[in-house]
Amino acid sequence: MCDEAPEKKVEISRPVMSKNDRIASDNRRLLEEKRIYALNLISSPGAGKTTVLESMARYFGRRMAVIEGDVQTRRDAERIERAGCQAWQIETGGACHLDAQAVSHALGHMDLESSELDLLAIENVGNLICPSGYDLGEDMRIGLLSVPEGDDKVLKYPSLFSSVHVLLINKMDLVEHLDFDVDRAIEECRSLNPEVEVFTVSARTGEGMEEFCGFVETSMG
C-alpha cells in the first residue's frame, strides 16, 4: 500500500482463482444434477494413481468413469478402458496440473447419461504442488502417497496434505522392505489436517482396497 495515492491507481480486488472457482462450481452443479460423485486423485508421478483406479474399476465396474490427466499420451485412459470403465484423456501438453476448465471440457465429451454411472474419478497430473491450488468441482480430494517416496513427504507438501479429505497410502506390499514409518506419515498428516481419513492399501495386491472403496461408496450417499 502506497502512502501517496497515485492518480492513475485502479482498484481491482479480485481473487486470481475466481474464474477457476466459478467453473469448478459449474462442474459441481452439473455432476450433482447427474447424481455423480466426483473424486480428485492427486499424487507424485509413479505413486500408483492409475493402478488404484484399475483396482477401483474392479469394485465399481461401469458405475465409475475416469478423467485422466497427463502431460502426454493416452496410455492411462487405455488402461482404464481395458479395466472396463469409460475414460477420457486430457493431455495438458505441458501444464503441471488440471484446472476446472479442462475438466469442464472433458465432461462435455463424456457420456454422463448412463443410469449406472454414479462415480467420476479424476486422475490429476502427477505433481504434489500445483494441483493443490485448483478446485475441479470434486466432492472428495484424495492425496495418494506411496511408501517408496518416503514418510517425510506429508510435511514437505503441506499445501496438498492440508487440503485432502483422504490420505491413501499405497504400495503397502513393499513396506517391509523400506523404512517408511506409516504412523509418522499419518500423525503428520493429522497434525496439518485433523479430519483426514486414512487408508493403507496395495492397489497391486488389492490389500485394503475393499475398505477404501467401501468408504467412497458410503460417502456417495
Partner: protein, 118 residues
C-alpha cells in the same frame, strides 16, 4: 507452483477490469502464506507475461499476509508466516486454518505518460 499460468490469469483479470491494454507502472497483489505461491517465481513470470500481453513492464508489489490459525490442542488463536509455525503457547501444529490461502489482484497503477491504448 504453476506461477506461469497464474501470471496469465493475473493479466487476464487486469485486462478485464481495465477494458483495455495500457502500460502499467505497478501491480499490487496480496499473497497468503498458505497459498503455495512462490513470490519470486511469480514476479519473474509476471514481468515476462505482462510485457508479452502489452502491459509494459510493471513492478509487482506483493503484500504478504499472515495466516490465522486456531490451535486444536489449547484452543488459542494465532498468526503464522508459514505452514510450519506451531502454536506459540503450546507448540502444537494441530490446527484449523481460518485464513492464509488468499491470492488477489488488489490494484494497478497506470504509467503516468500513458493515456492511450497500446
Amino acid at each position: 507452483m504453476h506461477e506461469m499460468s497464474l501470471a496469465q490469469d493475473m493479466t487476464r483479470i487486469i485486462g478485464d477490469a481495465l477494458g483495455r491494454k495500457v502500460r502499467l507502472e505497478r501491480v499490487n497483489i496480496t499473497v497468503g502464506p498458505l497459498s503455495g505461491i512462490c513470490g519470486e517465481s511469480l514476479s519473474f513470470c509476471f514481468t515476462e507475461i505482462a510485457k508479452m500481453e502489452g502491459f509494459g513492464e510493471p513492478e509487482l508489489v506483493i503484500r504478504k499476509t499472515e495466516a490465522r490459525l486456531v490451535c486444536l490442542e489449547c484452543g488459542g488463536e494465532y498468526t503464522a508466516a508459514d505452514f510450519y509455525q506451531g502454536c506459540p503457547d503450546c507448540g502444537s501444529i494441530a490446527r484449523r486454518i481460518l485464513s492464509g490461502r488468499e491470492f488477489t489482484v488488489d490494484s494497478v497503477e497506470i504509467d503516468e505518460g500513458e493515456d492511450r491504448d497500446v
